[in-house]
Amino acid sequence: MMQWETVIGLEVHVQLATRSKIFSGASTAFGAEPNSQACAVDLGMPGVLPVLNESAVAMAVQFGLGIDAEIPEVSIFDRKNYFYPDLPKGYQTSQMYHPIVGPGEVEITLDDGETKRIRVHHAHLEEDAGKSLHEDFHGMTGVDLNRAGTPLLEIVSEPDMRSAKEAAAYLKAIHSIVTYLGISDGNMAEGSMRCDVNVSVRPKGQEAFGTRAEIKNVNSFRFVERAIAFEVERQVELLEDGGKVVQETRLYDPDADETRSMRTKEEANDYRYFPCPDLLPVVLDDAYVDHLRTSLPELPAEKRARFQSELGLSAYDAGVLSATRAMADFFEGVKDVCGDAKLAANWVQGEFAGRLNKEGLDIASSPVSATQLGELVARVKDETINGKAAKQVFAALWDGEGDSADAIIEAKGLKQVTDTGAIEAMIDQVIADSPVQVAQYRDAEPDKRGKMIGYFVGQVMKASRGTANPQQVNGLLKEKLDALC
């Protein structure tokens, strides 16, 4: 059977976090009453003119610098002409021929810890359209222009991805770069980030690309993977049955988990691009770009590398903890307070992330602060409490039962017992109370005894209400039981 290779390129639309629109002073806030955030410019009234928002330019350049891209001195806005009710001017102002960000590169990390570089062809600025609403209008269509004119950065990759997993990893990398830079809230549910996925397949070893299909407007990491998986299967089946892939636009339907044809390229619009005569070319001098360069924050790739080299974390841990700026900042906060990167990494990814996940919360709304968690981890590190007790303290902190780990440890009497005498007394009591188990232990083959010791440890821990140092309990128990053999 023929081996197929998947080829994927992504066009990611990132909504920039400017306060006002790209060409007008209207607000970009999400969720306002329909058409309450559309001024004369957004409505495309006769005689109005666009004025470029400087902060959208700065954000686009920051992104370019963040992926080590060329920043051309001159970029130019073009008009993309087509009719649609939610496109008020009858054209979208975009950058067709001279984008603001030139070629760059994004490093992605795969599940096995391998990294791969995905080339970015360019990124350009453009305005978003409004929204057509088909419900509640009794067969008519409503138009909400609040979103019209919202600044978008469209990031166009080269066809460098070879699997759905790589595509999802790339999208995550873009997400993490833009959120690190603070140039987008990255909120996919609200449409702040969405992508068009170009997918084709070719026989393994063949150099020429296959015919591609473009899946429009996919708005979650998971959907990107699923849409590609479906599309690859569809194309391979088609080709193996002797058919041909048609170059077309498709839509991913998450409910049916399939892609469907929207229109073929033959019917596609001729957008009649030409330079927008209402806007001057954007000219960026070196001083401007350098200023933005020096004010860039540490980006995910640098952070990941530093977490490994300076903090000694594994590639996997470094990747997870640097995935979002919020996660990285939280981790570093915990680490700084407790002074142990590995312990901090375990706690942030384990108990903390697990609880967030369970409650469906993001880091910003966590009831436990990095400082509080750091103080808790510090008590684990200095062996004031053992791991089991620490989980209890964490739960109490989460539930607001105390302001600090120390207060909760004190109130609940969870301080770890490391006094050998006290532990020995508890062990002696447990051995005395468990003649049957002691007999079984004694009669067992020596190599089976290791497993059987768990029972005794459990009993001792129970007797100490979880405060005994488990390593000490283990060691002492073994000594005492073996002495009985």
Partner: protein, 486 residues
Amino acid sequence: MHDMTLTELARALEAGEFTSRQLTESLLERIEHLDGELNSFISVTAEQALAAADAADDARTRGEAGPLTGLPLALKDIFCTEGVKTSCGSKMLDNFIAPYDANVVEKLKAAGTVSLGKTNMDEFAMGSSNENSHYGPVKNPWDLSAVPGGSSGGSAAAVAAGLVPAALGTDTGGSIRQPAAFCGITGLKPTYGRVSRYGMVAYASSLDQAGPMARTAEDCALLLSAIAGHDLRDSTSVARGVPDYRAELGTSLSGLKIGLPKEYFGDGLDPAVESAIREAVKVYESLGATVQEVSLPHTHHAIPAYYVIAPAEASSNLSRYDGVRFGHRCDAPKDLEDLYKRSRAEGFGDEVKRRILIGTHTLSEGFFDAYYKKAQQVRRLIRQDFMDAFEEVDVLMGPSTPTPAFDLGANKDPVSMYLQDIYTIAINLAGIPGISVPAGNVDGRPVGLQILGPHFAESQLLNVAHQFQQVTDWHQQRPAFGKENA
């Protein structure tokens, strides 16, 4: 009063000879009597005008009058005026009440002027005869069987007929200068970027420019000082200080170097117009100027280049008129495509449709390089022609138009109409300023002398025009039309 210049009126108002209200009432009455025949106004805003006149008189009483306070004028119906219909001469915008003022309208209001109304024009400023208006053609007050020129024909006819002392027009390929020439008034197209385009309904964005139309160069200077300047809402407006354009009006022309582009005196130029222009040039020689022939070798490419670039931009600018948010909407559309097709088919006139089709075609895939790109290259060459000429001479002079005003209905063929703008169109492509001043009369129809200067040379152009008007009286001649109402 209707015969006076803005400058004279300003003096009379200051001297208390009459009030702005009296002046405004008198002109409104004159419009009422005469404009039925002329058709130079689309909307007369009498109520707002009288309120503005009263406010101006009050300001004068308080001692707060500026140089333009209380002066009446009219606005081409291409400028958005808050609360007033802004039709752009089109059925498409017949129902459009602008929700805001254009930048120039704001400035003129702030200066205390009194707008009498909105003047007639070729639909979306596309035309050279004012016959393309949804509101019917305008007549030339010098000869009611002649066109007033276009597209700012209403503004030119209203000033020439003494309905208003001055008006604003716009010029994309000659739309201020050609009607000014046909109607015997003075009209200035400023440097591209000198006056904000904000609130001016766009035809061809890289060429459109607003400017004053009045009886004298001095009046144009007065108005330009009020409307020029940088506007943050128009990225193509130029951040450059605005001089008092009247300050240079006394400068001697001794030593002025005048260039006569030989391409402006060739085939197609009416000999009577040519002799009037040559006479005018002699007047300049008598004022101490020297004259030499120059060449603008790419002149003959200007009309083709213009008719690629302007329709291309127009086809995109006019896409917003889709029947969805404002403007004409067809009855009972079946579906979206029907809404678009019928709203636009019904709302736009023939010339507008023609230019949208041309522009859509030239921007299409496979044609873009051959038309639009090539036209932009030609545009650079044309601009360079002027830059080269201004290395040798201070100003260029020639006829504003090849003939005096032609008869209504005489130019049925679109291309012969396009050729009317042969001397004006290159100026817009180059972005330089140009002024047309009255310089003769052929069989009762005025002749315009066009004077061109380098970018931002408005002060010099206005002075050169003004000096001519100090020693000639063409600008003082008035048509017989409306004289009995004096």
